[in-house]
Amino acid sequence: MHTHAQQTSVPPLVRDRVDNFHGQQLLYVGWDHHTMICAPIALLVSPELHFGELIDSLLPASAFALHSEWPQIDWAHVEWLHADRPFTPERDATLKAQGIGHKAYLRLRTPALRGIAGTGA
Amino acid sequence: MNTIQSTVFMALQTNDDTRPIIEALQRDNPDAVVHRLPAMVKIDAPGRLVLRRSTVEEILGTDWDLQSINLNLISLSGNVDESEDEMILHWNR
């Protein structure tokens, strides 16, 4: 809008385009009803990462693993959301192969686990 | 548009310069409510608040320049009408 720069045809600077991440991409993961982890986390991942590695290696090194309910997660019954819509991941497929692109947002829901003292924390 | 009862306010530093100003505001605005907070006095009034130079001068017993309020004014709300003789805060509705 209102400045000279925007009147010209200079393309906008997209600061977080995937090319700026040196072959990697951003992936965000949130754990519903566990507000002790104050915000979804931002990870740098390869598009070739297998979903299983996310669960087995990356998340255990994140804030999630410091929550007392982390060891109790029954991974067979975790509900996943991708872009806030239900999603069934394939453990052995890459992120790329199942459409999880740059800046994708995944949420996991563990209905049996209700956070600290059952408060959703 | 909303159900808020329109209120104007003036907030002044707590000091000797503002004592006569607060007293004048109370005298000239019977509906004004004075809140004393740490280091600060906030005077609320429904819709309109007037500060008269003549009242301050009467309390002080000497001349007083209304613009010197700028030294001790912390905040205000409302449309401002200022002349040599009075400063009025008001909402038009």
């Binding site: 809008m1 400045t3 925007q6 906008p12 600077l13 997209v14 600061r15 977080d16 385009r17 991440f21 040196h22 951003l26 949130g30 519903d32 507000t35 104050c38 915000a39 979804p40 986390i41 931002a42 990870l43 740098l44 994140s62 804030a63 410091l66 007392s68 872009a83 806030d84 692109g101 740059h102 947002y105 600290i116 003292a117 408060t119 959703g120 924390a121 | 548009m1 909303n2 808020i4 329109s6 209120t7 306010f9 530093q13 907070l37 740490p38 280091a39 600060m40 613009q67 700028n70 030294l71 001790n72 912390i74 905040s75 205000l76 449309n79 401002v80 009408d81 002349s83 040599e84 909402w91």
Partner: protein, 522 residues
């Protein structure tokens, strides 16, 4: 312009109104070598139409001689207090050393914003052809510079004794949470002139600065900080004038042309939300960081936004303006804002330039009283859990980087209106990329001007791109440690908990608090 009609016969004193008219009407002229629309070349870009700049009225009618006289008097008062503060070791008379952490946040987050406000008004004064508006902007540019200087002078006394105050300009440029206020000002300063003045003079000064300068500065006094309350109220005495400028400006623009109202409403909606998001930092200062508390965030929001803002919008409804979009949400969220914000800093205190701590039993009783609908239910159990972990020596620090809002740059720490345990998240696609937001308000702002916000410098992403390494040094390979050095945060000194910090140790020594415990002597 003809000034004859405001002149009086020689010898007769001019009235305030006449003096002001001499200054603001007599000093303007139309250019003759260059066309006016090229000299004031940003004016037409926003679609705002001004037909007669002479209709601009400054109700304070401050002339230059009066301005300098009163500003000089304010400075004399302030510096007398600062001398006394220094000579009497005023830093030892505060309620508790925890208090100084509010100053660290203020000094790194708000003082640089004052400097940006100075720059903004210096440029704005150049953009308005009406001398009334130009002079008001010029005075405000000088005011803002005064605020920066007096804040640096006042806080320098604390910098001699407490950590985290040593590098406020670099921190403001780089430190992750300070990108929230920094990007707010950069968003404003890169807008058109009318949007700038609505953003700062109206939305920020009129609707929102009271929240910083009244309860917080009153809180400074209550906590024994004579220096801060004095610079705060000295600054705020200028703000009273700035707010009036904001209100006069909006009325002037609305009265000039009926087409202006829709543009102004759009600016109000945007800047109310932008400002509200910055104030999350203030909410935790009031509720969690002042050792002696004056007023809760919710009470402050009720008084200064709901009551004061409501009155203002009642008045402006005659121009067809309405309360800014999503204002109801800000009221509902007042029950949650400070608790969620403080939790974020408890998570990330390893990467902050100030200390955090858990509220005491007494603090929690106060929070429960002020937040009867939310504190015991949602927030006390989490704090008690943290307390238990700390007692077991397992203090929880969040080792991950957070997902940030593309517009306000706050981590996604806020929750949905209907579920205070689920992260509020919005997203949209633009030009082949995905963008994430903390709220409908922030998503709408992006959608209005995507080309502006796609270039946001989001700290978490910059760290992951490898851009947060202190210039002139080699990356150590640990992005967290590299980022701290880049932020100019000294690890183990400026960050982490208050308990166990050098600040705490010094305070206990100065105040003689350890004398009775034999362990401390050993």
């Amino acid at each position: 312009m003809n000034t004859q009609d405001t002149r009086r016969p020689a010898g007769k004193k001019l009235s305030l109104k006449e003096k002001y008219a001499q200054m603001t009407r007599g000093l303007g002229w139309d250019t003759s070598y260059e066309p006016m629309d090229q000299v004031f070349d940003q004016l037409g870009l926003e679609g705002i139409k001004i037909h007669d700049w002479d209709k601009w009225e400054d109700p304070f009618r401050l002339t230059m001689d009066a301005y300098w006289k009163y500003q000089a008097e304010k400075e004399r008062k302030l510096y007398a207090v600062l001398d006394a503060f220094q000579q009497n070791n005023g830093h030892l008379n505060i309620s508790d050393a925890r208090y100084v952490n509010t100053l660290k946040l203020f000094f790194t987050g708000i003082t640089p914003a004052e400097y940006n406000a100075h720059r903004l008004f210096a440029m704005l004064g150049r953009q308005f052809p009406g001398p009334g508006a130009a002079i008001a902007c010029q005075m405000q540019a000088v005011d803002e510079l005064r605020h920066v200087q007096t804040q640096i002078h006042s806080i320098s006394q604390y910098n001699k004794y407490f950590n985290g105050l040593h590098d406020h300009t670099v921190m403001n440029d780089r430190l992750w949470y300070l990108s929230v206020p920094k990007s707010f000002f950069e968003d404003a300063i890169s807008s058109g002139p009318f949007e700038q003045i609505i953003a700062i003079s109206f939305a920020l000064e009129y609707l929102l600065t009271n929240l910083v300068f009244m309860p917080f500065m009153s809180g400074a006094a209550y906590n024994g900080d004579m220096a801060t309350v004095t610079f705060g109220f000295s600054s705020q005495s200028d703000e009273a004038r700035h707010m009036t400028l904001g209100l006069e400006c909006i009325k002037f623009v609305l009265e000039q042309d009926p087409g202006n109202a829709a543009i102004i409403q759009r600016y109000l909606d945007k800047w109310f939300w932008r400002g509200y998001k910055v104030l999350g930092l203030v909410s935790m200062m009031l509720d969690y960081m002042l050792p002696k508390k004056v007023m809760s965030w919710k009470e402050a929001w009720d008084i200064y936004f709901v009551q004061n803002g409501g009155s203002l919008f009642n008045d402006l409804s005659r121009y067809g303006l309405s309360m800014p979009k999503y204002w109801e949400q800000s009221v509902a969220e007042a029950e949650h804002l400070s608790h969620q914000t403080w939790n974020a800093f408890y998570n990330f205190s390893g990467a902050a330039a100030f200390h955090v701590w858990l509220p005491s039993d007494e603090d929690m009783a106060w929070l429960a009283e002020k937040y009867p609908n939310t504190f015991d239910q949602h927030y006390r159990p989490r704090i008690e859990h943290y307390r238990k972990l700390q007692a077991e020596g397992k203090r929880y620090y969040n080792p991950s980087l957070p997902m940030l809002c593309q517009t306000c740059q706050t981590p996604l720490i806020f929750t949905e209106m209907d579920d205070p345990t689920r992260t509020s998240h919005r997203q949209l696609e633009h030009d082949g990329d995905t963008y994430h937001f903390c709220s409908d308000g922030c998503r709408d702002i992006f959608a209005e001007q995507p080309d502006k916000y796609v270039s946001a410098w989001l700290p978490a992403h910059q760290i992951l791109q490898g851009n947060c390494v202190e210039p002139g040094t080699e990356a150590a390979g640990d992005p967290g440690a590299d980022a701290l050095r880049y932020f100019h945060v000294v690890a183990g000194q400026d960050n982490l908990d208050y308990e166990g910090s050098p600040d705490e140790a010094n305070w206990r020594r100065w105040k003689g608090l350890d004398k009775t415990t034999p362990a401390a002597a050993a």
